[in-house]
């Protein structure tokens, strides 16, 4: 069975959690005991219909304030596939949680309140889906009931959004518009009678029609090593396997490979998926590989095709989303984690900060604060084998870890 990963986005209160709650409800993914609990909780809050946002807003603080604070992961399935939904917060303060939820998404659903139009957070979230290069974007114009289900309102909003998308840095993103009233289930999993002028598919029908195949397998092979497997048993006395997950491409028995950073060459001898032997390891698979020769390779290293290896880089320019309340400043050192590989790094320069309002790059900024986006350069203590995120998103991102607090302070995309 196939999996499609979705993230919601958009400004605070535009109806993200309600929409996901409604989707669960319409696809019969909520059991009776959970519905009963929601009804009770709604009544306690003085609401006379079941507040479906409570299905995903699970924290006490969220229920008290009626907003989403952290990302909730929700699951539903249809006969066609399994859906993993990250319901993210719209509030500016929690943008970092939105990025967490959106980072693995293949489809982003941005909600816009029909009455308010495009807000600053709508823009910021749109920009983030662009940076992340999320292949599909659905703009749901929500609360159409409060806009008299007006076609004009919808058309105007689509027009505004398209104007925003004209400046896209990732124009390949598939853009779709759907008018909905999440609270009432209009155009969520059934065609709305209230909007006969809209002839497109409802949201679920659109999601079901997406024929997503990751391009990962068609890229050059990248196999970051997580661990060296050395069983201390009689039977496997000389076994030395490399455990990892293929991030891109395919590795087959007999393929000529080079180990990074040692640059030593060998040939793939065997591929193990769990207890079984196979012929090939495809992007996404967790396997153990053995090689024909004893070469120098360990955690943090990478196996790649001999004729298509990435270059070592020690100076990196990257776009960064800052996720920490302690600002990023030039000169500070961070632990850089690229895949499973960690090296020491130092921020050499903040090249610019990008204003989400105007998308203009401002130069001469001294720091990047929480939830700000900028372009920085770094110097690394040891080289990594990262590529441009645009060329290979599976080998082009890294995180920065604060050396004192150990928190994940930022996420960056190699330019």
């Amino acid at each position: 069975m196939d999996i499609l990963r979705i993230a919601t986005a958009g400004s605070v209160d535009d109806g993200k959690s309600t929409l996901i709650g409604r989707m669960l409800y319409e696809t019969s993914s909520v059991t009776q005991d959970k519905l009963d609990a929601i009804e009770q909780a709604s009544r306690r809050r003085g609401i006379d219909y079941p507040d479906l946002s409570l299905l995903t807003d699970g924290l006490v603080a969220e229920r008290e304030q009626g907003i989403t604070i952290d990302v909730a992961h929700i699951y539903f399935s249809t006969p066609r596939r399994k859906y993993i939904v990250a319901d993210t917060p719209g509030h500016f303060e929690y943008t970092r949680n939105m990025i967490t939820g959106a980072s693995t998404a293949q489809v982003a659903i941005i909600l816009v309140d029909a009455r308010n139009g495009i807000a600053e957070q709508t823009r910021r979230h749109y920009y983030i889906t662009q940076i992340l290069r999320i292949p599909y974007l659905v703009v749901c114009v929500n609360k159409m009931d409060l806009a008299a289900y007006s076609e004009d309102t919808f058309t105007t909003l689509c027009h505004d959004f398209k104007a925003l998308a004209a400046s896209a840095t990732y124009p390949e993103q598939q853009l779709t518009f759907i008018p909905v009233a999440a609270l009432w289930g209009e155009n969520i999993a059934r065609k709305s009678d209230a909007m006969p002028w809209y002839t497109g598919p409802h949201l679920l029908a659109y999601l079901e029609s997406i024929d997503y195949t990751s391009i990962a397998a068609s890229l050059p092979a990248r196999f970051p090593v997580q661990q060296v497997i050395r069983p201390k048993s009689e039977q496997y006395h000389d076994f030395r396997g490399f455990a990892g997950r293929v991030t891109a491409g395919v590795l087959r028995i007999g393929d000529r490979v080079v180990a990074l950073p040692s640059q030593q060459k060998s040939v793939v001898e065997a591929v193990f998926a769990g207890m079984n032997q196979t012929d090939a390891a495809v992007a996404g698979q967790s396997v153990v590989l053995t090689l024909a020769d004893e070469i120098d390779l360990s955690r943090g290293g990478m196996l790649v095709p001999e004729n298509d290896a990435p270059q070592p880089v020690k100076e990196i320019t990257a776009q960064v989303c800052w996720l920490d309340s302690t600002p990023l400043v030039p000169g500070k050192t961070y632990t850089l984690q690229h895949g499973v590989n960690r090296v020491k790094s130092k921020i050499t320069e903040i090249i610019s900060r990008i204003s989400v309002e105007t998308l203009v790059a401002e130069q001469g900024v001294g720091e990047l604060r929480l939830n700000e986006i900028g372009i920085i350069s770094l110097r690394l203590a040891q080289p990594v084998f990262a590529e441009s995120y645009a060329a290979n998103k599976y080998n082009g991102a890294f995180i920065l870890i604060d050396e004192q607090t150990h928190t994940t302070s930022g996420v960056a995309f190699v330019m």
Partner: protein, 300 residues
């Protein structure tokens, strides 16, 4: 044609990746083993992650003393089968040492008490990572938790201070005293676990299958009758054909009436179920925020 969905293979690859990150990033990890289907799944994933080497960390069982005997039997069998190391720590010992006090009353259970035994075991063995089989589809507070969930010196979850988790990059760097709870099957649903068990042909404790049992009815649910249950005067035990959807303590796990005797019929039953899996766990019903509260106190 079978209506049973096939298991999504990506989930297994993701979980194996997480298992290996735990082994690589921590010095003293342990796998929390309860004997239920989720921890059985974890053991299988750990076997696959490191094969042909053995599972490189011990299984830790916090024994409440209120287990189904079938679960303990199964646990010991699995340990022999896999050659894994098993550590058991007892809630009864925590009670004897005066670390916790036995609950009284109709709903008395040791489910809450086990947190203390767990935290003590973590301290005793200096575990820096504990792998658990919790899934995000189980409960609304669990839906909010990261795969690497950092716990402070007191084992507490701080929902507002969770680290961002980007792509599949896991940051397990911690200070002395802190530890991390790891949830490799976060993205699996109950159905995924069952289709995996079917696909892998995994053995599971017999109480998951339909059987005859002495039970009582309480609050509209069916409870296994046992010496640990505080029977009320109006509660009269009777025989019924039941099975369990989740394996917890005998005092807080309700049964469902069921004829399902095979994995396939269990899956068919779940597909049609109107009640969620944790709907049969009395501990979650104590309040709207029961799970979040327990997590903040150090619970899994």
């Amino acid at each position: 044609m079978s209506l049973i969905p096939s298991f999504p293979d990506q989930l297994e690859d993701e979980s194996i990746y997480i298992m290996r990150e735990v082994a690589a990033q921590f010095e003293r990890p342990a796998l929390l083993f309860s004997g239920g289907k989720d921890s059985i799944t974890l053991v299988r994933l750990a076997q696959k992650a490191f094969w042909p080497a053995r599972i490189p960390f011990p299984l830790l069982h916090v024994d409440t003393g209120h287990n189904f005997p079938e679960t303990i039997e199964f646990r010991d069998w699995l340990v022999r089968e896999t050659g894994a190391e098993l550590i058991v720590r007892y809630v009864q010992d925590s009670i004897n040492k005066g670390r916790v006090k036995e609950e009284t009353g109709k709903y008395a259970s040791r489910n809450v008490l086990q947190t203390v035994t767990l935290l003590d075991a973590i301290e005793e063995f200096k575990f820096d990572a504990c792998i658990g089989g919790a899934r995000r589809d189980e409960e609304k507070a669990r839906a909010k938790e990261r795969i690497f969930s950092v716990r402070n010196d007191f084992g507490q979850w701080e929902p507002k201070k969770q680290r961002p988790e980007l792509f599949d990059m896991l940051n397990g760097i911690i200070d002395v005293g802190e530890n991390v709870r790891v949830f490799p099957i976060s993205n699996w649903t109950e159905l995924d676990v069952w289709t995996y068990i079917q696909k892998e042909n995994l053995a599971i404790p017999s109480i998951y299958f339909s059987h005859q049992r002495n039970v009582i009815e309480r609050d509209g649910l069916i409870w296994p009758h046992s010496e640990y249950l505080n029977l009320q005067p109006d509660e009269i035990p009777f025989n019924a054909t039941v099975r369990f959807r989740t394996v917890g303590d005998m005092t807080c796990t309700a049964a469902v009436t069921s004829e399902a005797a095979t994995i396939e019929s269990i899956i068919v039953e779940i597909l049609a179920a109107k009640i969620s899996e944790r709907g049969a766990r009395i501990d979650d019903k104590r309040s709207e925020a029961a799970m979040e509260q327990r997590k903040k106190e150090g619970y899994f």
